[in-house]
């Protein structure tokens, strides 16, 4: 929509801080931001169109590659949707292993999101510390699944590989190391005076505004609303899961929620390894015809897959709703305007953890 403004400052598609290209046009009055508009379209690949007509063993890999940071959850929710269509059930051990891979992926995604935020407040040291500990988490994903990113671990009826005792004990030791380092970095972030100055009270989005714009994920939970798709997932409920909520509504709250979720994931992984049941990892089952909607909790929020499949499990129609679609709009409408400085636009934008690859598949 064309609108004549006094001064419009673009934070262009090519920006050293953005992980993926998108353009934010800010309407400013001096240093004050009056409104912001986000322009997308730099990363459209048409993945949903390529998926039509293919069976699950090809669509699974396409779904993983929608987003490189949160690839396991796309795999997870897609396969769960296909299983819901066909009535395929999963043995207990496989369900626990799926959650193990999912939580490891959630940890590395939160670590890179917070690294990105530390870059926007120009604290590269803390950012690099986080990226360093992320390598440990990626190594554990590699031991479990064989690959660091795009693991292709979850298949209909179960998982692909079974970790032996050595792998599980290695993961336990790594979790101890990650927890020790994370407690130190959280202390650095929470009590650092310049970090607090740059994050507290910036990018406020109240609970009413968040509900109005349908924000999801940590962006929503930082505004005081306890909404998390993992509360409805049976395996997570067996492990005892409650969402983490904060009420400060600013950048600081969003980043601290991600740090707290990393610690929560470490606890979940420890519970899984201690109580992993014996049994099979694949229950078998073929994918059939049907139509359904299914949602899961990606690191950035709620991920929805709407799939219609034909007689032998080939995709006829598919629609994917990723969390960043809602969060980027929430950011542009409520977090960026009202800011006292153009310098706060990048930190407010990155604190809502946008993933443009997910937004435009």
């Amino acid at each position: 929509m064309k609108k004549t403004v006094d001064v419009a400052i673009p934070l262009g598609p090519v920006h050293p801080i953005f992980k993926e290209p998108c353009r934010i046009k800010c309407e400013t009055f001096g240093e004050q931001i009056l409104a912001a508009e986000v322009e997308l379209g730099y990363m459209k690949k048409g993945i949903e169109r390529i998926m039509v007509g293919r069976p699950w063993q090809e669509v699974m890999f396409l779904a993983e590659r929608i987003c490189g940071i949160c690839s396991v959850i796309h795999n997870f929710v897609f396969i769960e949707t296909m299983e819901k269509i066909s009535g395929v059930s999963v043995p207990d051990r496989a369900a626990y292993l799926r959650v193990l891979a999912n939580e490891l992926d959630r940890m590395q995604s939160h670590l890179i999101a917070n690294f990105s935020y530390c870059y926007t407040i120009e604290h590269e040291t803390l950012g690099m510390y986080l990226l360093n500990i992320r390598e440990t988490v990626m190594d554990m994903l590699e031991y479990l699944t064989g690959a660091r990113v795009t693991c292709a671990y979850i298949v209909p009826g179960g998982v692909r590989f079974d970790p032996d005792e050595e792998d599980l004990s290695r993961i336990m030791k790594a979790m101890d190391k990650v927890e020790e380092e994370m407690l130190r970095y959280i202390r650095m972030f929470e009590h650092g005076p310049l970090i607090g100055l740059r994050s507290k009270g910036i990018g406020i989005m109240t609970a009413e505004q968040a509900e109005l714009v349908h924000a999801v994920g940590p962006t929503l939970r930082a505004s005081g609303i306890p909404s998390d798709c993992r509360s409805e997932h049976p395996t997570y409920q067996m492990l005892g899961f409650t969402p983490i909520v904060r009420t400060e509504c600013d950048n600081f709250a969003r980043i601290m929620i991600r740090f707290d979720e990393i610690l929560q994931s470490i606890d979940i992984i420890r519970t899984i390894i201690k109580t992993l049941p014996e049994g099979k990892i694949r229950g078998g089952g073929t994918i059939g015809r049907g139509q359904t909607t299914h949602r899961g909790e990606a690191p950035r929020g709620e991920l929805t897959y709407r799939i219609k499949s034909d007689t032998h499990g080939r995709i006829q129609e598919i629609a994917i709703q990723t969390p960043s679609i809602m969060n980027i709009e929430a950011c542009a409408r409520y977090m960026i305007p009202g800011g006292t400085s153009v310098a706060d636009v990048t930190s407010a934008y990155i604190s809502s953890d946008p993933c443009i690859a997910c937004t435009e598949r």
């Binding site: 069976p55 699950w56 063993q57 090809e58 699974m60 890999f61 396409l62 590699e142 031991y143 699944t145 064989g146 690959a147 795009t150 292709a152 298949v155 209909p156 009826g157 179960g158 692909r160 590989f161 079974d162 032996d164 099979k280 990892i281 694949r282 078998g284 089952g285 073929t286 994918i287 007689t311 032998h312 499990g313 080939r314």
Partner: protein, 203 residues
């Protein structure tokens, strides 16, 4: 919050001084458990083409004859391969190998299995019979079908019966999709339904 004294004590240790002066960057070796591009082993390839059927990346793998007469080998084009490891898992002769896939499959008793289903769209099918003449399994069962184009045998997988291509024995299909490729208007389709399974122990 660490004090300056604690840092000085840490830096005065032998281990720190050795790491500071003599450590080199870690060698870049791929760990053995990493699922890398599959490499071809010396086992005999029976050209069943199941690796080509399961590959999700178009153009990544092809099974071709080598110089030795009667020998076939899969060839992986690295630019297209996404290192998913499905071809490694499905090969019945274990010709391809990558990471710990075979060790894990042997330990857990896991395997993948194809089922092939043929669907004919009765509205679009014009009964031309190209699919049943092209089918290589039909050629073995009833050579008259490929030579003359007509057949009265009911042992073939499919043939034109009362004006429409009718499937008689879906279980004999090997999933090569030659019929689907040759069909002029996409009315016959082959579905390769994959099922990941695990061997159950006898109770």
């Amino acid at each position: 919050m660490r004090s300056i004294l604690s840092y000085v004590k840490h830096m005065a240790s032998v281990e720190w001084i050795k790491t500071f002066f003599f450590a080199k960057t870690a060698p870049l070796i791929t760990p053995s458990h990493f699922r890398e591009f599959p490499h071809v082993t010396d086992k005999e390839c029976t050209h069943c083409f199941q690796c080509m059927m399961i590959c999700p990346a178009p153009g990544a793998i092809e099974v071709i004859r080598t110089e030795k007469p009667g020998e076939w080998k899969p060839v992986i084009h690295l630019g297209h391969c996404i290192r998913c490891g499905l071809c490694v898992e499905i090969c019945p002769e274990l010709v391809l190998d990558s990471g710990r896939v075979h060790t894990k499959n042997a330990q857990d008793g896991t395997y993948m299995q194809f089922q092939f289903h043929i669907t004919v769209n009765p509205v679009i099918c014009m009964g031309c019979g190209i699919c049943s003449v092209a089918c290589p399994v039909n050629k073995e069962i009833d050579p008259q079908l490929a030579a003359k184009g007509t057949s009265t045998s009911d042992e073939v997988i499919m043939r034109v019966y009362k004006g429409i291509n009718t499937v008689f024995h879906e279980e004999k299909c090997t999933g090569c999709k030659t019929c689907e490729e040759q069909c002029p208007n996409r009315s016959v389709m082959v579905a390769r339904v994959l099922e990941p399974l695990q061997i159950t122990e006898e109770p």
